[in-house]
């Protein structure tokens, strides 16, 4: 496998210098001359390198083609535009954009040369909790990515059970066990003890990669892997407001009040709803991303005679509990109010079976694997972005798109009828899949 590493190194040398003499190139990379000449000849035979001039090498046309390689694979399902599906005979333009602002962190690259070290690596993953199927899938994606790597001797995974104090202890324990890098999904976004230990570890030179939930100071994390919580909150709220024609009584079902994704989604959604004077927020309920808590909150409101025209939820993890509550309250197929939140397969199955208007933006559980990839790049000393945002797809049930919110994929295309109810979408490649501990029931 050393040859692959040398091939990559040979080609990467041209990033900061257009031409190299063979001797300089091999000398810089410390590749034995005989081996180097053979590899260069092989690279020339494939058009990856060419003789530029006067004995100098340059990247060839086959290497140029790498520029065009897609960063997102074309989905195997048909992603035909709306007009091709014949759904929008009257062409319309988007009324409101999906994003409100630019985040400079996306373009800021962090040098990780100081963290470079030779393998094997011991990586610690301080996970906030395993309290719902999404979190289990996220850990699954991270562990699956780690298992594919021979350079990783060990991955220490700790579950803080949403307890910041416990996570402090676990971080200190992992440090004592000699981890080379810590991947952190914070148990709380603003706990002083946790912030202090994270800052302390960073100051000691331990590279920390944040995933999903962040904490600590702005420079404590080398990189933060997430998806745009602002887009999730904003787009789902725009859809709800437009679907209801700008007026109606909405219940907001949020995750945890101490988790950064929850707070950002809530704030973004509230900003949208505040622009619609006809929208009344009946209540804001924090559910800890638990279906049972959402079930209780919706059941209580329905029992008290409240009329709910829409349920805005920051994730499908709790939305499914809301659907259950409506079903148990006697709502029939086709009479459920619109809901937001996807992520989990049963949400799509139920919404389609009960004909619930749905808008979902799956928060990719694959950010566990992407966080691990960022960790590997950090330990290899390659530049990484200060902030990595995974892709979000807007999923809407057929016939329920609005002026501003069109589907990247219809819910009917997204649902996996062949997969289990607790299958988590966008969880990357996990050989054999992940079994979660308990699946919510269908209404």
């Amino acid at each position: 496998m050393e040859s692959l590493s040398r091939i990559a190194d040979l080609l990467s040398c041209f990033e900061d210098r257009a031409t190299w003499s063979v001797s300089d190139l091999l000398s810089r990379l410390k590749i034995p001359t005989s081996t180097g000449y053979k590899l260069i000849k092989a690279l020339q035979s494939r058009g990856l390198l060419i003789n530029a001039s006067r004995g100098l090498l340059a990247l060839g046309p086959a290497a140029q083609a790498f520029f065009y390689a897609p960063v997102k694979v074309v989905a195997p399902q048909s992603v035909a535009p709306q007009w091709a599906r014949g759904q929008w005979p009257q062409a319309e333009r988007l009324a409101v954009s999906r994003v409100a602002q630019w985040n400079n962190g996306l373009l800021n690259l962090v040098s990780t040369a100081r963290f470079r070290k030779p393998p094997p690596y011991v990586v610690g993953f301080a996970n906030a909790s395993l309290s719902n199927p999404w979190r289990i899938a996220m850990v699954g994606s991270l562990v699956a990515a780690a298992r594919r790597q021979r350079d990783v001797a060990q991955v220490l995974v700790r579950d803080a059970q949403d307890d910041a104090g416990l996570q402090v202890v676990q971080l200190q324990e992992m440090r004592e066990l000699g981890i080379d890098l810590c991947i952190l999904s914070a148990a709380a976004s603003s706990d002083p003890r946790l912030d202090a230990v994270v800052s302390d570890l960073a100051a000691q030179g331990l590279p920390i990669i944040g995933v999903d939930r962040r904490c600590g100071g702005p420079d404590d994390l080398v990189s933060f892997v997430t998806a745009s919580d602002l887009v999730i909150g904003r787009v789902s709220a725009i859809w709800m407001a437009e679907f209801l024609g700008g007026k109606g009584r909405i219940l907001m079902l949020c995750g945890r009040r101490d988790a950064s994704p929850c707070l950002m989604r809530l704030q973004a959604a509230q900003e949208v709803f505040s622009l619609h004077p006809g929208i009344e927020i009946v209540a804001i309920e924090f559910t800890d991303w638990q279906a049972q808590q959402a079930y209780g909150a919706v059941s209580r409101l329905l029992a008290s005679g409240q009329i709910l025209d829409g349920i805005w939820s920051d994730s499908g993890l709790q939305s499914i509990g809301s659907l259950q509550a409506f079903a148990d309250a006697g709502f029939k197929k086709g009479t459920f109010p619109p809901h937001t939140g996807g992520d989990i397969n049963i949400m799509y199955k139920t919404a389609l079976q009960m004909r619930v208007p749905l808008c979902a933006l799956d928060y990719p559980a694959a950010m566990g694997a992407i966080g691990f990839q960022t960790a590997l790049e950090t330990l290899s000393g390659r530049q990484v972005p200060r902030r990595v945002e995974t892709n979000l797809e807007v999923v809407v049930s057929r016939g329920h798109e609005t002026a501003s919110v069109r589907a990247d994929m219809l819910a009917e295309e997204k649902v996996r009828w062949d997969r289990e109810d607790d299958f988590v979408h966008a969880a990357g490649w996990i050989p054999g899949g992940v079994r979660t501990r308990s699946g919510p029931r269908l209404p």
Binding site: A42, S45, S97
Partner: protein, 223 residues
């Protein structure tokens, strides 16, 4: 190392990158089948290329060319641009306009790179590697200015769903080839089929915004 083993190593490295750039594959088994190589070799090669950041995976687990590979491609095109910058900028353009946004290399042709497919009623399907011949009367691409192209037919047949329509492309140069003649450019572009003046103004504004984000970051990093 023999010459034969060097050739074999380069062939497999290159073939895997070509495969993942054109087809959706997730497993070493699929790689082994498509490239007719032993499963054990495919497994080790894929894992090693992931480790080297030559391969990566998307949110659905599909293998893709990695950051390092894209950086090689940019270098080969003469562009000193961080590969990590392109996807966020393209996504921002798409999310603000609703239209299909992409990077492209502009020479005497327009060749598409990173794409974010639009969500508007008008959005068109543009795919990586798609090549467009520029019209004979194409306006010159002024540095720092948004310019507009109307393209009728892609030059190549592959995956063309825009054959029968006029594709209006607004583009803005982000970087030039580091060689002396500035006739090769990295552009950010937004395409749609029916460009009203209001839409065109919005797209031009957003293109200028991303160019500003890009330039500001470059200046900060040079400081």
């Amino acid at each position: 190392m023999s010459q034969a083993s060097a050739l074999e190593a380069v062939r497999r490295f290159h073939d895997i990158l070509i495969l993942v750039s054109h087809e959706g594959v997730r497993t070493a088994y699929e790689v082994a089948q498509r490239l007719d190589m032993p499963l054990s070799s495919a497994y080790v090669l894929v894992a090693e290329m992931e480790r080297l950041a030559c391969l990566t995976r998307d949110e659905s687990g599909y293998l893709l060319a990695g950051t390092r590979t894209h950086q090689m491609g940019l270098a080969a095109c003469g562009m000193q641009v961080p590969a990590q910058h392109l996807a966020p900028l393209v996504r921002y353009l798409r999310d603000h306009t609703g239209e299909t946004a992409f990077t492209a290399r502009l020479t005497d042709r327009l060749v598409v790179g990173t794409v974010a497919t639009g969500s508007s009623a008008h959005h068109v399907i543009v795919q990586a590697f798609q090549t467009y011949q520029l019209p004979a009367d194409a306006p010159a691409a002024d540095s720092g200015a948004v310019w507009r192209l109307t393209i009728v037919d892609p030059q190549e047949n592959g995956a063309s769903q825009v054959n029968q329509m006029h594709l209006s492309v607004h583009a803005l140069a982000l970087a030039h080839d580091r060689g002396t003649p500035p006739d090769k450019q990295l552009v950010m572009a937004v395409a749609c089929t029916d460009m009203t003046d209001a839409v065109a103004r919005n797209i031009a504004r957003r293109l200028h915004e991303v160019a500003q984000f890009f330039d500001n970051t470059r200046e900060r990093q040079q400081d």
